[in-house]
Symmetry: C2
């Protein structure tokens, strides 16, 4: 049974997709059979891993709404041990389609449970919202990993996210926990960055990963080449940080 991690934060543009892609790649590189499920209608995780338009035609939407088995909507990537469940813009219709369905919050959890393939880890890239798609991810997950941009607006939304996680934990998924908060787009020239980082560490303590992801232009260039940054430019500061983060995550997975 795979360990399932939802990469979630309703604040937009904080590095959810970038974190999901690079952690999935790093976990695959150290031999863990990994699946990355793209749950965002924008399909950025699919593109960032070089998935073709044809592959996107059968993926997350069909799994959630038409009961397609998860392994039939998952594809190999250029990276050994890493598969991806792609999505297309159809997925934005799933929010309305799911509303009237039985067990609408459990569709993704059941799709993972009933799959014959034995992944070690499943990562879910969530959209920037807390509606039914993200709730599906939180119900299916063992843990949530929260990328948090070191900016004022991003800090403001964190309590809404933790309250939602608590609600899902109480009502739908008792095992759910926050496995870690990772500070992203850290820019040491910007005074506000340090203030936000201090606030977050003060409030969440050890839950916050030691590794901080710096703002690094190579990270934003990688998706246009259909590659994770840790492959596109493994020596840059962004890649080094993601490799270090993967190391910390694996340590926390071992403890559980």
């Amino acid at each position: 049974k795979p360990y399932v991690i939802a990469v979630a934060n309703q604040k937009g543009g904080v590095g959810k997709t970038t974190t999901a892609i690079n952690l999935a790649t790093a976990l695959a590189a150290v031999g863990r059979k990994t699946l990355l499920i793209d749950l965002d209608p924008q399909g950025n995780a699919s593109t960032g891993l070089g998935v073709t338009k044809e592959q996107k035609a059968r993926g997350t939407y069909d799994i959630l709404v038409s009961n397609l088995p998860l392994n039939e909507g998952s594809y190999d990537t250029a990276i050994t041990n890493l598969q991806v469940t792609p999505t297309s813009v159809d997925l934005s219709g799933a929010e309305l389609d799911l509303v009237d369905m039985e067990q609408r919050e459990f569709r993704l959890r059941d799709a993972i449970r009933h799959s014959p393939v034995n992944w070690d880890v499943v990562l879910i890239d969530c959209p920037p919202s807390l509606t039914l798609l993200t709730v599906n991810a939180l119900v299916a997950a063992d843990a949530v990993l929260v990328p948090l941009q070191c900016e004022f607006f991003a800090l403001e939304g964190i309590s809404h996210l933790t309250r939602t996680i608590e609600r899902v934990k109480r009502a739908l998924n008792p095992k759910l926990e926050i496995i870690g908060i990772v500070l992203t787009m850290y820019d040491k020239r910007n005074r506000l960055t340090d203030q936000v980082a201090d606030d977050v560490r003060g409030h969440f303590g050890k839950v916050v990963f030691d590794t901080v992801i710096p703002r690094n232009v190579r990270v934003s260039e990688a998706p246009s080449h259909g590659l994770p940054v840790i492959i596109y430019d493994h020596a840059c500061a962004g890649s080094q940080a993601y490799v270090s983060l993967a190391g910390e995550l694996i340590g926390r997975l071992r403890e559980r």
Copy 2:
């Protein structure tokens, strides 16, 4: 009857809220009676204009779901001629509440039409999604203003947004148009930025505003003071760009 502009883009973190706040402030500063409606459950536009927690308790959710008149959910700000309709996290429940309602896509349009107050311009800050809340904004709007970050993932989503605008125009709001696309967080040190900017101008031509908003740390500091950047630091590059953008927008409004 006010001219209504939806500030929208389903890609997260591209500068929707920052653009809505600063354009609203600039329009108010030149004498236009302006209302900014916060349609994002994160409530960043409300916070960025210094709205109190008490005011947030009665706003967009009540207007959309419980028929509260728009002017009863709108408050004066510290800025002359600028009012705001705040929101709180309750609004994320509106997506599900609206689904079974009559005329669910027209709730915001009707609230604006039935209001006794005569604003000149209404700006709507949209959430990072294309679900019922954003559709309400597109149906209520005369035009859409699209902030576009000069990054690869942001460029990928633009065709999904334009198709959605076309669909709403055909089915629900024939007058809807794109009044402009503004390039945000422009960083001239980053080669990718220029490539994306060239792509966008090549594809959208004159629709793209001449004014480009530079990445500027003062912009991200302003919200922690509850002020728009054009007031927090009117001389910085970010503010100058927003004032210039407002000038271009006013020119386009005059033409219509």
